[in-house]
Structure formats: C-alpha cells, structure tokens
C-alpha cells in the first residue's frame, strides 16, 4: 500500500503564492551558507581594514558618496565599525547570537559599500543580497553555537523549519546574477560574436605568453575564430545556470557547470570574493528538507563504516540517515522518492549529494548502471 500525500490545491493564484512563500521548509541550506559566508565577508572587509590599519580610509582619496546626507563617521569610529563588522562576521559564521551577528554584519557591509560609488562592485552587491537573506531567515537554529548552548542548557530545540520566502528570494537573486550577466552579453553583438573576449586576450597576450600555459593553448586562446564559439559557450553557460538551477532534472548539471564556471573565472580574472561567494551560494539549491534519504550499511564491513563516517562528517546539508542493516547487506540508498540504489551506484549517489564531494561524484551518475530503481514503479516528485 502506497501512501501519497499530495499538496493541497490552492484556491487562487494569489493563495498559491502565499502558500509557496509561507511553506515551512528546512533552513539547513541557509545555515550552511551562513557558516560559509562569514569567511567570505572577512575576505571582503580585508582591504578596507588593511587600509584603515595603514592610516588611510576611503575619504583620504577620491570617493563619491551616493547621497549628500549619508553619514561620514569620524575616523576612529569608522575603524571601530569595521572592527565590529569583523567580530560580527566571525560570530555569524559560528552562529553565536546569530540574528544579532548577521544583522550587524549586514549593517556594516551595507554602510561601508554605500559610502562611495567606488566601493560597489557586482560581487559586493551579491554579498549584500546574501547577507540580507541570511539576516531575515532564522538560520541560526542549527550548525551554530546558539543551538549548542541551547542543548547544553537542556532547552528544547527550536523548529528547524521556517517560512520559505527568504530562500525563494535568495534563489531568485542568485538566478538573476547569472541571468542578467548572460542576457547583457547575449544582446551585445560584440560579446556574443566573440570580439570582446578575443580583444581582451589580445590585450593581455604578453601575460599569457609568460604564463605556464603551453604554446598551443596560448595560440588557441589568441585565435579570433575560437572566440566566435567560445563567447557563445560562455553566454549560454551563464543562461543555462540561471535557468537550469530551477528544475530538478537540470539542477545538478547546472551546479556542476557553475562550479567549473567560477573556477575558470577565478583563475583567469580578478573578481574579489565573487567566486567563493557564488560557489558557497550554490547550497541554497538543495531541496529544503532533511534526513529524507536513508543509507543502510553493514556495520561489520570496514568500507561501509568508512562511508558512514564520511557521511557523518560531510553531510552538511543533513540529507541522510544512516542505519545499520543485517550482516552482508550491500550499501543501499533509498532516495526521498523511494528510488533504490545499491552497491557502488549507491555510494556514488551518496557522494554526489555531499557538498564537498558532489562535483567529483556527479559525473559518475551518468554512467550505465548508476540510475536508481523504484521499488514500486512510483516516481517521486514534486520537490523544487
């Protein structure tokens, strides 16, 4: 007998939107993002702090305020604000007084960025958006010192689920980052035709010649006709990531491509914290429910035990429950839709769902025999 819980049918489109925004979902991905964004924020603040420690702040040289009324703090107070930002970013990452720490981090980063038009870059705008989403979401109830203290005091844990709207908004913003960038290139004939990328390579040809790249690679990169195709690939990659992240069938491919994309950008251009932030933000695309995949292992098998330990250490999105089965049991993964995988296919599928190993394991899922089977032919679905 199969029990199927269908979503309630909303009375109207507005009601459907309200149900979507108010649906209580796991905040685990935002909690993990909070942990990861702390170091990114520190990296972002570093040049401002280094300048301040060297006795120079933004208004010692050209700056352009967004508004005349925007407050310029006295020099020592500005330094103190940056120091508060650092402390807050560390506390946010650790999850100590999380709500206050995240709000303070957002406040410091926002104040500092809006001091001058010269401060704002796309990667910093994205950081601001991510911090804003974290500040409005209750993302400190797990993976946090707050949760640990609560447990130590013997108080009951807080509900780990919360209305989904901050997560949906952050997903929208993340998609906009890729979509807007791709669209602007798509509608620019110079970009889509390859002129921009080729010309940029020509400008830095001397640096390429001095790089460890082999001569044939430099020659290929400097070839105009190569860019006719490469530029289109870049544009379509950005658009694919923007769109592909939304659908379950393409999401893992989009995540995999996005990681490649950001690594390529990081090694080829100076983009401040963009690569780190964008890769960290990919965790928000995990389905916001937890412990709904079951891994059964044979506790007598050392390799199974190692897999269980790996899951314990690396399952940052809390996707798995690990159970000990009868002796001789192969590693068995039951997915949230009931699909079963066993043996190496199960191991590959498990690794493909752990943030740190996903990029390496995902390609193995296209190999023959890697597809799971359904226990009763019922394909689960409906997850977004």
């Amino acid at each position: 007998m199969t029990a199927v819980v269908a979503p309630p049918r909303p009375a109207s489109p507005i009601a459907a939107v309200d149900a979507l925004l108010g649906r209580r979902v796991s905040m685990r991905s935002l909690a993990l993002l909070r942990v990861l964004v702390g170091p990114v924020t520190l990296l972002h603040l570093r040049p401002f702090v280094a300048d301040a420690l060297g006795g120079r702040i933004y208004r010692d040289a050209f700056y352009e305020p967004y508004a005349a009324w925007y407050p310029d703090l006295p020099r020592p107070l500005y330094g103190a604000v940056l120091a508060v930002g650092i402390v807050a970013a560390v506390a946010m990452s650790l999850g100590f007084c999380t709500r206050l720490a995240t709000g303070t981090t957002l406040g410091v980063v926002a104040y500092n960025l809006f001091l001058s038009t010269t401060h704002l870059h796309s990667n910093r705008a994205y950081l601001l958006i991510v911090l804003a989403a974290l500040a409005v979401a209750p993302c400190g109830r797990e993976l946090s010192v707050d949760a640990w203290l609560r447990r130590r005091r013997g108080r009951p844990p807080l509900d780990l689920r919360a209305p989904a709207w901050p997560l949906w908004l952050l997903r929208f913003e993340a998609a906009v980052v890729y979509g807007a960038s791709g669209l602007s290139k798509l509608v620019d004939p110079d970009w889509f035709g390859g002129t921009v990328t080729w010309h940029r390579i020509v400008q830095v040809r001397d640096r390429l010649d001095a790089s460890p790249l082999p001569a044939w690679a430099v020659s290929l990169l400097a070839d105009r006709s190569f860019h006719t195709y490469a530029a289109k690939l870049i544009v379509l990659t950005e658009l694919f990531i923007a769109v592909g992240l939304w659908w379950r069938a393409t999401r893992y491919a989009a995540v995999w491509v996005a990681v490649c994309f950001h690594v390529a950008i990081e090694v080829s251009a100076s983009v401040q914290v963009f690569s780190y932030l964008a890769i960290a933000a990919l965790v928000i695309w995990a389905v916001p429910s937890t412990r709904d995949r079951l891994v059964v292992i044979d506790p007598g098998n050392p390799r199974h035990r190692r897999l269980a330990s790996s899951i314990g250490a690396l399952d940052w999105l809390a996707r798995f429950r690990v159970l000990e089965g009868p002796p001789g049991t192969p590693v068995t993964l039951t997915d949230r839709n009931g699909a079963l995988s066993t043996g190496p296919a199960a191991v590959a599928r498990v690794l493909s769902r752990l943030p740190l190993t996903a990029w390496f394991a995902l390609p193995t899922l296209v190999l023959p025999g890697a597809r799971p089977r359904h226990r009763s032919g019922v394909a689960g679905g409906g997850q977004r």
Partner: protein
C-alpha cells in the same frame, strides 16, 4: 509496508515511494500566520523582485550599474591626459605634483591613479568616464592649498572594444579658490 530496521529499540521505516517530506502533513498546515503577516510577506517579496528587475533594466542605460550584474561587459580601453588649467591660462599636466598634491595620491582605485596609461575599462566605458568625471570634481574640491587652478580638464581617448578611438573632453567644476 514491511521494510523497517530496528536500532536501539526503535523501528525506522525507509521512506515510502511517492511520499515526500517536502509537503508537510496536513495537520501542520494550520493557519498560524496572521493575514497581516501573509500580506506583508507577499509585498516584501514582490517589492524585492520588482526592484531587482528594475535595477537590471537600469543597467542598460545608467553609467553606474549597481545590482545590474553586467559582468565583463566590454574589452574597451581608455587613456586620459589630465591638466590643470590655471588662472593665467596655462595647462599643466597633473603628472607633475602641485602645491604638495599628487594625482596618484588623490585618486586611487578604479584604474584612475595613472590615467596617462591605457587601461581596460573593466565595468564599461560609460562607467569609467563617470568615475573620471567625478574624480576631476573631487580633486578640484579637495585641493585647498592650490590657489591658481581654475579647473581640471581631461582629454580622454576611448577605444570601445575594437572600434576606432574617440576623444571626449571632461571638465571639473570651476574652482572659486583660483585667484
């Protein structure tokens, strides 16, 4: 359903096919949200979406493209000869220090510190020219010891991608300090 595992005295059931933890049990969908909260949430989300899309659209005509996420937009380059035009009509390059001021100390970042060198306009030419224009005004307004410069002028040569060069002249505000 007969597939269950016993651990520590508790029975764990493997997930049912077709049953998702994604949709909460009906008893969890009680109307705990007030109407004000529901409407407020709806408005906040709509506002963010509309503002974000507006900022993306604004990026197509504004020199500054905040939150428009137009990354690596051009391969364009620029170079500028910046002079101080003094009250007696002399045109003095800012590459020479004056009254204890140096251009490279007054204007740092955004590739503006050495305008005489050809630079990549990494956020586009419009953006670069807007910054240079603002930098001229900043220097004009923040060099109080200088009592001879009437205004600063930049003769900017721009190369939009692979297009032929174009020349633009930017000028700071007039300085009342000039005698």
């Amino acid at each position: 359903m007969d597939e269950a595992y016993r651990i520590g005295g508790a029975r764990w059931w493997i997930p049912e096919p077709g049953v998702s933890s994604w949709w909460p049990h009906p008893c969890h969908r009680l109307g705990v949200d007030t109407r004000a909260r529901v409407i407020g949430r709806r408005l906040v989300v709509a506002l963010v979406v509309v503002v974000q899309l507006a900022l993306v659209a604004r990026g197509y005509w504004s020199a500054h493209k905040e939150f428009a996420f137009q990354m690596f937009p051009e391969s364009s380059t620029w170079q500028a000869e910046i002079v101080r035009v003094t009250s007696d009509g002399a045109r003095v390059s800012v590459t020479r220090p004056w009254d204890g001021y140096q251009w490279a100390e007054l204007v740092v970042g955004r590739g503006l510190g050495r305008p005489e060198v050809r630079h990549h306009a990494d956020a586009g030419l419009d953006n670069q020219l807007a910054f240079l224009d603002a930098a001229l005004d900043y220097v004009a307004d923040n060099t109080p010891r200088d009592d001879e410069t009437r205004y600063l002028e930049a003769r900017v040569t721009t190369w939009h991608n692979t297009d032929p060069p174009e020349v633009t002249v930017l000028r700071s505000d007039d300085r009342p300090e000039a005698t």
